[in-house]
Amino acid sequence: MDVGVRNRKNKASPKSGKKTKAAEGGQTHPADTDALKRSIEKLQHLNENINRDSGDGESAPDTPPPETAPDSSPPSTPTTSPDDFPDKKVQSSPKATRSSQQKKARNSAKASQDTQPPLKLSLHVDGMSVTLFVVSFLTRIWRLDSPRGIVFDELHYGKYAGLYMQNTFFFDSQPPLGKQLIAFAAYLAGFDGGFKFERIGTPYDAMVPVAAMRMVPAFFGSLLMPTVYNLMVELGLSHYTGALAAFLMIFDNALLAQSRYILMEGILLFFGLFGLLCILKFRRFYSRPYSLPWFGCLILGAASLTACVCVRYFGIFTMLLGIGILVRDFWEMVGDRMLSERQLLGHLVTRAVIFTTIPVALYLSCFYVHLTLLYKAGPNDNIMTSAFQASLEGGLASIISNQPVKVVHGSQITLRHTHGRTCWLHSHDAVYPVKYADNRGSSHQQQVTCYSYKDVNNWWIVKKPEKEEMVVTEPHEPIRHGDVIQLVHGLSSRALNAHDVAAPMSPHNQEVAAYIDYNVSMPAQTFWYVDLLNADATEGNWHAVESQIRLIHVNSSQALKFSGRQLPDWGFRQHEIVTDKIIDQEDTIWNVEEHRYGKTEDKKEREKDLLRSEMIPLERRNLTYWSKLYELQYKMLFNNQENVAGHMYASEPLDWLFLKRGVAYWISANSNAQVHFLGNIVVWLSGTVALLGYVALFVVYLLRRQRSCYDLPESAWNKFCTVGEILGIGYAVHYFPYFLVDRTLFLHHYMPAYVFKICLLAAMVEHGHYLLSEYLRAPRLARAYLTGVGLWAASILYVFWFFSPVTYGTRDLTANEVMSLAWRDTWDLIIHKQ
């Protein structure tokens, strides 16, 4: 767009904006027009139906002068005061009264400018945006339902969509919005979730609406193109540059693949960039604060950026970038002396309120949908606490539904380690070895472990020390917060004991055992305090499932703890239980999961009772949305997922710069048809070069400016800086965090940063042209340059076409053809052995 908007300080006259625009489009880049138009024409060959008239990127000639025309005037010209609206006038400010005369005049002038009623909608079609969208959409939906097999992470996302259909709970450490969109499409297409997503490559059966599900990323991935185009224009770059950036993205094989299959990147990128676009558009309405479009941009920006976070947590970086831009713009606004402090405060508060309420509301509602839809027990339940599981239909709920709530003397319970690894306090008929491998001795008493599976040996009986018989007596004797109890192992009738003996794997902690009286000088220390963490919620009573407890050993004041270490073979590789003097930690928290009242005193009977412990399913328990959300969030953020170290197609952030490795997405079972995730190497490497070029040029300009050599005119320099500020920093915040991430990374993690890199590349192409034509004043060179750009674009198309078989995966390839695609020896394309 015009230079005036970008440079508020360059006080061009209010109407010059439009003129400059015309001038820039029509005259300053005559050569530009040629070559770039050629590349655009290429796009249009693909879609002849689109009206050629509207393809030049300027607003369509037949539309009325758009509402935006007055806005494009430089906002902070002295004559344009931000408080145009009489109702916003600050009465007390002397400045306001002084300028009210002036203002009236201005208001009338403005009224004559836009006589439209305040809520008029004027439709205005941007031909270039539409073209880009259509071309992109066509490339994405071409033979969308093939390959008809599970492509890479469709395994997960398809499965999640199926689980949504079946209302079955699943656990994923990324937020749900993207999955919900796909599930919604699948729902509309009539998917019932009956398909089992088992392995990558499994063919879909007829029930799976592959095309509908793939349509979601394809649609969002195509919307990305007009967004990028407008974003570039909003940054002050020419329309051709915007179109070039979109062109590079349309014909990049990596972006194509990511937005063609059921993957999250297309959605993620669209929301992120659209949010940024809104925030940049927001700048335009500087002179009309609190107007409808002003609010529109701000709210839409906040919503879109939040959506980006709701697709994947990594989107938080995009959001931070957006907020950063807002903060920076606000800081510029602080320098505007025309604004009173109260107005500034008003602006700050409005922005802050919008950028807190909308994200919070959107985020919560997306989880609300998630938790409301998924009410049935499913395969990932174990990771959640008993209380959470009990709230799901058919899972734990079925087991514990009719069990008593209050834990009393004589209760038979299983004790679950609440957070972190799922396991139950367990003991079995084996003792600690006399000597460990490192020559330490043990107590040689019965082992107590934490066992990750349901087992009859997980049952314990709660006993008050002063009572002998282990049955529930009438009246019940409830156990309350602070009571002292003993825990007797159900099958072996030995009491949970701890003493000053070093634990097998954690010598700094005490060993926990089920006490066997060897009649040596080792007295039983089997008393434990019950410390309820949420005593208030249950009025001090110990409740099954709900209460989270710590068991504090009376003699040593240490807490029963899951140490996280595994016992060796003598402990059957179960997990170690110890007591620890550091009480306040997560691994000391336990809860009762299964619970019933013991009825028989007879030991044999009791054992029999324990051994047949099947229950009949009933209905679910209710847990409030907030406590479910809290728990789910906690698990999502702090659950250390198992790290698939050394995955065959994993790559390092540094490899991404040069496209060192791709990812095999899918291979046909009986031919060499395959999908291999690879970018368009020409775009890729040019992007890296452009990035380095930008940094180098920036340093050179900066060094020269510091010595007072101003090579670029102020406006060009500002444009150059804006590009770096938004695209360069955007690239950095989406790329560098990966160096700190401690998990397996794949090439597709680079996509968000890559999009910024492509934009920067397009901007650098324009800057190169600018340098040649304006700084060096060499029109011939400039023309040659444009020809070069045209050739380069052609080579991009060629490479795109060349690699399209492994992007679309629709065509069988011979071994030689596959070999011919492996341009680098680190690209491991797959060839079936005959």
Partner: protein
């Protein structure tokens, strides 16, 4: 009234009249003569020495990490090679301190709490403490140079002086006093060098430049966290150079000269010194020790007592040779097999292949061509054929006669990889026994060399590469390490090297010619160190300290148990006022930036005040940057963290507090009624010092040792000092 001020007063005037007291106070505030400066500085130093060296020999047993660093010191004295994740300078200094003060290196430092009976450990403690004591005067100098305000310097240094945590941390044989010494020394050098800016290229200018470089090299060579101070000094240098460069009066040649001299002093000199420390380290440690296993075969051949030392064998690998193969990653074992089979249900029931860290007859493999049996060693007529890069080979396990074999079955632990087995009888196998030898970075057809070359063995049919890693097999595999065939050929764990090579028909040559030179050893030590560092991950269920806990003094660290308990905990008064000062600084910074942006920052009435404000904000800005650089990166670190990692940041934070306090106390009189104005400053100062000193007195048992055997232990005041439940003393 603080001790310093009292001392100042005493040295100045012994009279107690109000007038002279005020005068002395004004002298102190304005610092118009060097005598005043030296008097205050001297007082600070005296107090430092008194607090640091009090009870320095207590407790008379190994405290906390002394068990490591004392051990390292002993190893330097005994010249035994070891492995540690930190660079050597700090440990070398400890070794040197011990050596110079008569410690003979025989004490084993087994575990904390071991009594030092008859061991001359005092020397090492005193030297470490002395280095730690320098922090206080260093802080004094830094703040003085940055603000030219004597009260600010005194505030800052006394905050450091009266911190219990720093006192505890700098009293023992640890790396921390040394590291902190070098870090603060670097900053002293930086400010002193900056102070010489009007006398560029003079002797003192060069002197301070070299001093800074020396200190920088010291901090990096003690622990890698010393890099943060390098970044800090680097940024400061860039900022000064940028100003020099932007001043159009300076010709470019002068700017270049400035740039080059700084590059020399702050980049080249530290690098040279850093390498020199490593050179000394590698030269001193020439005997085999427990660190050998972390290093490559070539490296080990340089250590006296190692089995590879002075070994001689054929340089090149020929068909028919008996070899051992060592996984080339850090701590990799030897390719091993034994007569036991994989159990039922674990892939094919064929002979197990593992890696094993000890030398054993079962590690021997015979190299054969892929399609023919090798000739006998005695058969002199057969030509000798060398194994070349890209050749197809079979490897036969010498004791059992089975070939190294792989096929498309899941590996026992890492299911995505293929199983590797021993297959066949007496060397007769099948086509799945064929492996292609690839020399890493070697040209096609290069003969494979023993020890020096790193090889990849790629399975000919499946296309996967032989790999080993740290995952252990279950009991059936004797808990040896798993060997798999990895479909990802480029995995760094796929590299192996030939270690033993027996082939009598080739001439033996000594490995002296392939002995790694200093550069190679230097590089290898670093890769090993970095791997070791990244291996320090918290295990499941382990509690580690979190960075957010540090500035609020959330939780301490046990240093010593037993009869005299020592607990590393900061002085809460210091920590919490540091936090407040940081927030205050942030507020002031924003406030002034806002006023400036609004154009309403004008106080032409008081130029002095404005200069003072700029100086304060400037100094605070740099100190806050240093604090952030020494603190924030810990959030991004995956390794185990401890409370004591915060102390470098604490130093900068304390100095910032000193500067801010001074600014605040100077500004306040202008804000209160006139009749109070004269008394505000002295009152506040007095209040500050008395609070600080009293809190030091209260908490000092944490550092000097809490004797729970004392009769009134149960009623000891320290029990009442548990202000936070998380403090565990």
């Amino acid at each position: 009234m603080s001790p310093e001020i009292k001392k100042t007063r005493n040295t100045q005037k012994s009279s107690t009249s109000q007038l002279t007291l005020d005068k002395a106070f004004m002298k102190y505030r304005q610092c118009d003569s060097p005598a005043v400066w030296w008097a205050v500085f001297g007082a600070v130093c005296l107090l430092t020495a008194a607090t640091r060296f009090y009870n320095v020999g207590q407790p008379e047993h190994v405290v906390w990490d002394e068990t490591h660093f004392g051990k390292f010191g002993s190893w330097y004295i005994n010249r035994t090679f070891f492995f540690d994740v930190h660079p050597p300078l700090g440990k070398m200094l400890i070794g040197a301190f011990g050596y110079l003060t008569g410690y003979d290196g025989t004490f084993p430092f087994v575990k904390p709490g071991d009594s030092y009976e008859g061991v001359s450990y005092i020397g090492m403690r005193v030297c470490c403490t002395a280095m730690g004591a320098c922090l206080v005067p260093f802080a004094f100098i830094i703040v003085w140079e940055m603000t030219l305000s004597l009260p600010a310097a005194t505030f800052a240094s006394s905050l450091i002086l009266f911190d219990i945590g720093l006192l505890t941390l700098t009293q023992y044989i640890l790396l921390d006093p040394i590291l902190l010494f070098f870090i603060m020394g670097s900053v002293v050098g930086m400010v002193k060098f900056h102070a010489q800016r009007e006398r560029a290229f003079s002797g003192s200018w060069w002197g301070w430049l070299a001093f800074t470089g020396f200190m920088l090299s010291g901090s990096v060579s003690t622990k890698f966290v010393g890099l943060f101070v390098v970044v800090f000094v680097g940024l400061h240098t860039i900022a000064t150079l940028w100003d020099l460069y932007g001043d159009l009066r300076n010709p470019l040649s002068l700017v270049a000269k400035h740039f080059l001299s700084r590059a020399l002093g702050l980049i080249l000199l530290p690098i040279i010194l850093y390498c020199a420390y490593f050179y000394i380290h590698l030269t001193i440690l020439c005997k085999s020790g427990n660190g050998d296993g972390f290093y490559s075969s070539a490296f080990q051949s340089q250590l006296e007592g190692n089995s590879l030392y002075n070994a001689s064998m054929p340089l090149e690998l020929a068909y028919g040779a008996e070899i051992t193969l060592k996984n080339a990653r850090t701590g990799g074992g030897y390719l091993h097999s034994h007569i036991h089979l994989y159990p039922e249900g674990v892939g094919a029931r064929q002979q197990q292949i593992t890696t094993y860290s000890h030398k054993d007859f079962n590690n021997k493999w015979l190299v054969k061509k892929w399609n023919e049996e090798p000739a006998d060693w005695e058969d002199e007529d057969e030509p000798i054929e060398l194994v070349k890069n890209g050749d197809l080979v079979r490897l036969e396990h010498v004791p059992t006669g089975r070939n190294l074999h792989s096929h498309r079955e899941a590996a026992p632990v890492t299911k995505r990889h293929h199983q590797v087995t021993g297959y066949g009888e007496n060397g007769e196998g099948d086509v799945n026994d064929v492996w292609r030898v690839e020399v890493e970075g070697g040209a096609e057809g290069v003969p494979v060399k023993t020890v020096v070359h790193r090889l990849r063995l790629v399975h000919y049919l499946v296309g996967c590469a032989l790999m080993s890693h740290n995952k252990q097999l279950p009991k059936w595999g004797y808990e040896q390490m798993e060997v798999t065939c990895n479909p990802n050929v480029h995995d760094p764990n796929n590299l192996w090297n030939v270690e033993d090579n027996q082939f009598p028909r080739l001439p033996n040559s000594s490995f002296e010619i392939y002995a790694p030179n200093f550069i190679e050893k230097f590089i290898e030590s670093h890769t090993v160190m970095f791997q070791g560092n990244s291996g320090l991950k918290p295990k499941e269920g382990e509690i580690t300290s979190q960075p957010w806990q540090w500035p609020i003094n959330f939780k301490g660290q046990h240093f010593s148990g037993g009869s005299s308990k020592i607990y590393l905990l900061g002085n809460p008064v210091v920590f919490w006022s540091n936090l407040a000062a940081l927030l205050l600084f942030l507020f002031l910074r924003l406030h002034f930036a806002y006023l400036c942006k609004r154009g309403s920052l004008c106080s032409p009435a008081d130029v002095g005040m404005e200069a003072r404000r700029d100086r304060t904000l400037g100094a605070c800005g740099w100190l806050a940057l240093a604090w952030a650089l020494h603190y924030l990166p810990f959030y991004a670190m995956g390794r185990i963290l401890y409370f004591h990692h915060y102390f470098p940041a604490l130093l900068f934070s304390s100095m910032l507090t000193g500067v801010i306090l001074d600014y605040l106390f100077e500004s306040l009189p202008g804000l209160v009624p006139r009749y109070l104005a004269t008394t505000v400053y002295p009152t506040l100062t007095g209040l500050f010092y008395s609070t600080l000193a009293y809190s030091f007195y209260l908490f000092s048992p944490l550092a000097y040792g809490m004797h729970n055997l004392e009769p009134d232990w149960e009623n000891h005041t320290i029990h009442k000092m548990r202000w936070l439940d998380t403090w565990e003393f």
